[in-house]
Amino acid sequence: MRMEAKILLILGAFFGIMFAVYWRWSIEDAGGVMMFAGMLLCFLPGSYYYWWSRRMKARPEDDPNATQTQGAGVIGSFPGTSIFPFTLGMGAFFVVMALVFGIWFLVPGLALAGWALLGATSEGRRGGHV
């Protein structure tokens, strides 16, 4: 956890330095704003990882001497198969078609996307189709 935090924080700090230099030196704002946002995007998860790394013991994957049995156990529970990513993808496709060919494409697009969101949520709760 500590190494993950370190990488993101160092990257963020580097973007911060670049931002400061660029902001002082250049005459346009867009690049500076984007570099500043890049810095924040690194600091946000980086500080979260750092905060946790100080409060928890090293995970088995952070311990150079860990044995495989230390990692045993259930890490999560997911549907083995699911149609809803496909449905949501098709919904997004029709929404984009609405941007190009006409607003009526939103009807199938949002219907498919809504169905996928409801379906994926309830699938996660009740156990999916395996």
């Binding site: 250049s26 890049g38 495989q68 529970s77 997911f78």
Partner: protein, 581 residues
């Protein structure tokens, strides 16, 4: 419901895993549509992106046929604009990135770090569907009345506004990019979470294979860069349809802002494309030199440095606009040569005094190294503003980035020969592979080299006809010949896949691989591993198979390592018969 269980619960002989393999209901097209297994999704990604490579390659062949004579009449001027736009778009957006982070990395990264799947399996599937539908959306432009997008793959304002480029083709291009952009962002989230949270016990960050490291940095760059492109595309769409004037002078907007936004995504994108292929070449070179990666930590450092610097170099694409900070971007761009040089040095160091095995994959990696060096060095020239002012928008730039991307194609082909056996279970034919390599490698040099000279001679890019000049005609003919050779090499690849179809069973570890993916079966079972070795270095499979030549362990205190080394049965038990190694 499938419980995602870490491997140690599956001991190979307890009969549990056979049961685990069976419960995958759907087969055929329904399996393709509903699977959340990273290997199935990764294979879909790989196949789709290779199809995109073929489509983009066909566009390239038509472009080169047109340029074989000064007044080519194969396509009209308008069609030529569509072709070079879609050639670039298909290759960059729909082939190179998705092949690397959606295809190969999707399959290989979880296995390399001992994870049972990606962190978010359903999000992974959604990424694929967004990518596929985005690709179809972009290509649908050819079937509209006005044709496909024709403003170049960079869509500069004000050329891309609704007055200069009306019609549905441009909107389909924007829509397709929105979909594939979200697909890339989701894959970036997935890869980062997988690498941060699903590593096997003992797989510390500094024991991850270099390919996984490169994919981590790629994923972080995706998260930093792609949202900027998505935002820019939405602004462009608003300018085209909702009457905003973000990129038009008429309403007080700034056209060059589009270039800033586009290249703020576009230059990290270059490394998003390149880093995965660097990783593939690193793995291939290490395995076929039978050595650990030379300078492992400096390799990781170089990758991180490239990632960090890549956010500060975007405006070297905009030197000639006259409104960017030349010294800042020139210095930053030149600095990138340092970590890249470290990588080249390390690749050579890995091969140095190694036991080289010239398989097709190794040849492809060597071809990558040479071609990338040519492209990289010419890139250093272009980072210098005076030289860039001279060569901007000429064929010199075209030749430079085609050296780079063709190097990536070589490394990608190497990855298919190297990892293909792992995810299909069958090897490809080596004789066809070597024919393919020589055609691809020689073809690449023959098609890029004349373009460097043409560029220095002043031939602009994106032109369908050019002045009559014997020298330009000859050089263009050579370039076209090279493009034909590359095209033939792709035909050889397709023939090879057909010829080798289920012919040469690979076994679990055909190359004496070093990293975890070679510890499991080919193809890997559902959730990837029946069991895992102890991980004490960045080469766990090598340590297991070669206890006499165990890697130096990273990050272990010497005393403890001493104990481990003497307890060989614990660290690296003798290979068992069911291992298949």
């Amino acid at each position: 419901m499938t419980d995602l269980i870490t491997p140690p619960l599956h001991v190979a002989d307890d009969g549990h895993d056979e049961h685990h393999d069976e419960h995958h209901g759907p087969t055929g097209i329904l399996k393709w549509m509903t699977s959340t297994d990273h290997k199935v999704i990764g294979l879909s990604y790989t196949v789709t992106s290779v199809v995109m490579l073929v489509i983009g390659g066909l566009f390239a062949e038509i472009i080169r046929a047109q340029l074989a004579s000064p007044n080519g009449t194969i396509v009209s001027l308008a069609q030529y604009n569509e072709l070079f736009t879609m050639h670039g778009s298909v290759m960059i957006y729909l082939f190179a990135g998705p092949f690397a982070f959606g295809g190969i990395a999707n399959i290989i990264v979880p296995i390399q770090i001992g994870a049972p799947d990606m962190a978010f399996p359903r999000l992974n599937a959604l990424s694929y569907w967004l990518y596929l539908m985005g690709s179809i959306t972009m290509l649908m432009g050819f079937f509209t009345a006005g044709g496909a997008a024709n403003f170049g793959w960079v869509a500069y304002a004000p050329l891309s506004n609704s007055i200069n480029t009306p019609g549905a083709g441009a909107d389909l291009w924007i829509g397709g990019l929105l979909l594939t952009g979200f697909s890339a962002i989701f894959t970036g989230v997935n890869l980062t979470a997988t690498i941060f949270y699903l590593r096997a016990p003992g797989m510390t960050m500094f024991r991850m294979p270099i390919f996984t490291w490169n994919m981590l940095v790629t994923a972080i760059l995706i998260l930093l860069a792609f949202p900027v492109l998505t935002a820019g595309l939405i602004m462009l769409y608003c300018d085209r349809h909702f009457g905003t004037h973000i990129f038009s002078v008429a309403g007080g907007g700034v056209p060059v802002l589009w270039q800033h936004i586009f290249w703020f995504w576009g230059h990290p994108e270059v490394y998003i494309l390149a880093l995965p292929f660097f990783g593939m070449a690193t793995e291939i070179i290490a395995v076929f030199a039978k050595k650990p990666v030379f300078g492992y930590k400096s390799m990781v450092f170089a990758t991180l440095t490239i990632g960090a610097l890549s956010l500060g170099v975007w405006a070297h694409h905009m030197f000639t606009t006259g409104v960017v900070l030349l010294p800042f971007f020139s210095i930053m761009s030149l600095l990138i040569a340092v970590p890249t040089g470290i990588k080249i040095f390390n690749w050579i160091g890995t091969m140095w005094r190694g036991e080289l095995w010239f398989t097709t994959a190794m040849l492809m990696a060597l071809g990558f190294l040479i071609t990338f060096l040519i492209g990289g060095l010419t890139g250093v020239y272009l980072a210098s503003p005076p030289l860039d002012f001279f060569t901007h928008d000429t064929y010199f730039v075209v030749a430079h980035f085609h050296s780079i991307v063709m190097a990536l194609v070589l490394a990608g082909m190497g990855a298919l020969y190297y990892w293909g056996p792992k995810f299909t279970g069958y090897l490809l034919n080596e004789r066809f592979g070597k024919i393919q390599f020589w055609l691809l490698f020689i073809g690449t040099q023959v098609f890029t080299f004349p373009q460097y000279i043409l560029g220095l001679d002043g031939m602009p890019r994106r032109i369908a006809v050019y002045p009559h000049s014997p020298q330009w005609k000859t050089l263009n003919d050579w370039s076209t010949l090279g493009a034909v050779l590359v095209g033939v090499s792709m035909i050889v690849f397709v023939v090879n896949v057909g010829y080798s179809w289920k012919k040469y069973p690979a076994g679990d570890n055909p190359w004496d691989g070093q990293t975890l993916e070679w510890f499991t079966t080919s193809p890997p079972p559902h959730h990837n591993f029946y069991r895992l070795p102890q991980i004490r270095s960045e080469r766990p499979t090598w340590d297991y198979n070669h206890p006499e030549h165990r890697s130096l362990a990273h990050g272990i205190d010497p005393v403890h390592h001493h104990e481990l080394a003497h307890a060989g049965a614990v660290v690296a038990p003798e290979p068992e018969s069911d291992d298949g190694a």
